[in-house]
Amino acid sequence: MRTANVLWLLLVPATMQAQTIDDGATIPRRTLGTGLVYAHESWSQYWEGTLKRDNQNIGTLTTQSVMWTGGYGVTDRLSVMTMLPYVRTNASQGPLHGMDGVQDITLAAKYQLLSTPFTDRGTLRAFVVGAVGIPASNYTPDFLPLSIGLASRQFSGRFTLNFQAHQGWFLNGSVAHTWRANVTLDRPAYYTNGQLYLSNEVAMPDVFDYTVTVGYQRGRLSIPISLSQQRTLGGSDIRRQDMPFVSNRMDFVRVGGQLMYTLPAPTKLGIHLGMSRIVSGRNVGQSTTLTGGVFHTFQF
């Protein structure tokens, strides 16, 4: 029921020195950007397979996280990024204990393939991104929806196309495919996909996602609005009255908007506020997420 990869989808636009994976910019050479992002995600309804329901033994499931993020411009065309969230979950009703811990560290490299004037209205850019996610602590994925993550090593390959108009409008499209390594449970058997597996290893289906963003950026202000969709390419539905399982087919469509503002020089501080909502899903909670972040850049 947790929304896998949620922290990968945070959008921080170009003014923030390209600190996200799926935006249309790289960090200028020898520039270091770092920030802290707080996110508050909650849901009181979820999709049990395709059946939307509530659960009085969970009430509202809240996931709070604080994520450290850092990015560095190796060259003007190549940036490297890293992210590390601390996550805490809580159910407002019922007997289940919340969980907390350091989740997965993400290491990513973004390379600008192309940057060219397009018509006389703006600039077209294209990027490829490779990102690796590795669980950074020994948390369990076997207590969903209270688990803090899915504990799978993963690699995603991403392609992003960005058009930035001279007047400030921009359009960004990004697609990615994520491969996920087997997850190891603490138990010797589990049931999913209609069969009992006599193993502690769980095969994780691949994930496909895309994000389309339109926005306006002028001076120190940027306002992106995005629509993103995740599709898990396999896995089973949560059965009637069952608990979720790590390899379930977790799909969702999310809409979100953000407000980014860079404070006047010489502070080099940026702030962002964001909100997103899952509008449809399968084996995920219908969550609303509020985010707030502070960023700082250093020049070398």
Partner: protein, 512 residues
């Protein structure tokens, strides 16, 4: 290639190499080449049947008869054009029918181990054996139901195989490949007489038991049973008449057990609203705080009358005599101390403790604690290369003990109707699902202690490992936040005594 791309592409290669989705299974079963024929098994003590001759198996046609020659020819014809699928079926069942059916049964338990969802009005429907395909599906294969299912299948298989062994050594008909060298032996072949076929006996007895226990899975069960008989034929292990005789014997034996299951008290195990209220009233009358469901909406307790279900090796008097003493009073200082221990433990769990809680959780959608012990036993049975009849004996002893443990434990749970830790102290939250029935004593501890006692008897060299697993399974419930220490300690003692009945039966059954 641009130099800057190199580390990036290297990372791609490393990560995709790590994304191989091959799963390592822990229970691979190599072709069964039994360490012993167990040729005397026809005289081993019966449990329910009056004796091996309760059902007569008619004498087979002679190995020299035209009818038998035609059967051999049919095998040879079948073997000339085996498809890859047929070979996979042979390879699968070569692992041993008793263990394969146990794996299939564990899968059925896990599939059917889901509690009914609440209705809109906050009540819960009860799974209906007369309408097994409805919502909720029948059965809800919770731990007591599962313990009963494992035991019925294991005991029925064991009795049927003992009878089969008796008739095998009455008639001494050889295995087809021993009679005719033109018949290939695609499974290990021994000097065990082939008539009646033990594979067909298992197919017949198991299919009938599983149809009664898991009626909604009838299609899959029937298909698997047919595959097992086909594998015996295609592999050259049995002829058509070996199989027909085995199938008939298996089904005859199953009928005895299906009848027993229909009258063993399971039908009344769910209980009635009045009975549930009476349990609470009794606890209050004794000055105790009664158990209350912590689910929302409140769910009736799981199988309140399971303590009255018929046991295998204990008399109803034994069931009462072996019960542990009363739990600490809900108002006592000891209860307060134990409650504080649960709270303290859950709030300061180490990573290994948490892993133990999940290892032994065996909650909804799993094969349950009795299934976990079948999982453990299977690997020992496989490694000991036990014959089919001895494999069945081991699982029968194990699963009779665990059914008796379930009955004994449930009887005590509903005698005292003791609240869970989280009911007495709502700040206690659990890291595993909270079972919806009274606390004292711990079912995991009772099951595990009974199981470890039996397995230590059958596999003495494994005793230290079984004891360690029993202790780990038991204490996992304290780590999970769902049991007091008294529940665990008294449950272990209780389970050990119950396991002793199966050990004593095994010591005198003629199999040693």
């Amino acid at each position: 290639m641009r130099p800057t791309l190199r580390p990036f592409l290297l990372a791609v290669a490393v990560m995709t190499a790590g994304c191989d989705h091959t799963i390592t299974f822990s229970e691979a079963l190599p072709p069964l080449d039994a360490a012993s024929l167990d040729s005397t098994a026809g005289s081993w003590q019966m449990i329910v049947l009056s004796g091996p001759t309760q059902f007569t198996v008619a004498a087979p046609a002679a190995e020299t008869s035209a009818a038998y020659s035609a059967e051999l020819a049919a095998i040879k014809t079948a073997q000339t054009h085996l498809t890859a699928t047929q070979r996979r079926v042979i390879e699968y069942w070569a692992g041993g029918g008793v263990l394969r059916w146990n794996q299939i049964l564990r899968g059925l338990v896990a599939r059917f181990n889901l509690p009914p969802a609440p209705r809109a009005d906050g009540t819960y429907p009860v799974p209906d054996p007369e309408n097994p395909f409805a919502d909720p599906q029948f059965p809800f294969a919770n731990p007591p139901y599962a313990a009963r299912a494992y035991s019925y299948v294991s005991v029925a298989q064991y009795e049927a195989l003992k009878a089969a062994w008796y008739w095998k050594y009455q008639y001494h008909r050889r295995s087809p490949s021993k009679v005719d060298t033109g018949v290939l032996a695609l499974m290990p072949v021994s000097d065990l007489p082939a008539y009646p076929s033990e594979d067909a006996v298992l197919s017949g007895v198991t299919v009938e038991m599983l149809k009664a226990l898991f009626p909604a899975a009838v299609e899959e069960i029937t298909q698997r049973a047919a595959e097992q008989r086909n594998a015996a034929l295609w592999s050259g292990k049995a002829t058509a008449s070996d199989i027909a005789a085995g199938l008939a014997l298996g089904k005859s034996v199953a009928a005895v057990f299906v009848a027993r299951a229909g009258a063993d008290g399971m039908k009344n195990a769910v209980g009635t609203k009045a009975q549930w209220q009476a349990l609470a009233d009794t606890a209050v009358a004794h000055g105790e705080i009664p158990w209350i469901s912590q689910e929302s909406p409140p769910r009736p307790p799981m199988l309140a009358n399971f303590g009255q279900v018929q046991t295998w090796l204990m008399t109803p008097t034994d069931v009462v005599t072996e019960r542990p003493p009363a739990p600490p009073s809900t108002g006592s200082p000891q209860m307060q101390q134990e409650l504080a221990e649960v709270h303290r433990t859950v709030e300061h769990l180490s990573q290994p403790q948490l892993a133990i809680a999940y290892k032994w959780n065996d909650g909804a959608a799993t094969y349950t604690p009795p299934g976990h012990w079948n999982d453990i036993a299977t690997e020992y049975i496989r490694d000991a290369r036990m014959s089919e009849v001895r494999s069945a004996r081991t699982l029968a002893l194990l699963n009779m003990a665990m059914l008796d443990a379930a009955v004994g434990c449930w009887g005590v749970k509903f005698l005292y109707f003791n609240p869970r830790p989280g009911q007495l102290d709502p700040t206690i939250k659990t890291v595993i699902g909270l079972p919806n029935f009274p606390s004292y004593p711990s079912g995991h501890s009772t099951f595990s202690s009974a199981a470890a006692t039996v397995l230590s008897y059958v596999f003495p060299s494994g005793a230290p490992a079984f004891d360690a697993m029993r202790d780990e399974a038991s204490i996992s419930r304290l780590y999970g936040g769902i049991h007091y220490r008294s529940d665990i300690e008294r449950g272990k003692e209780h389970g050990g005594r119950i396991g002793g009945y199966a050990v004593r039966f095994g010591q005198g059954d003629g199999a040693n």
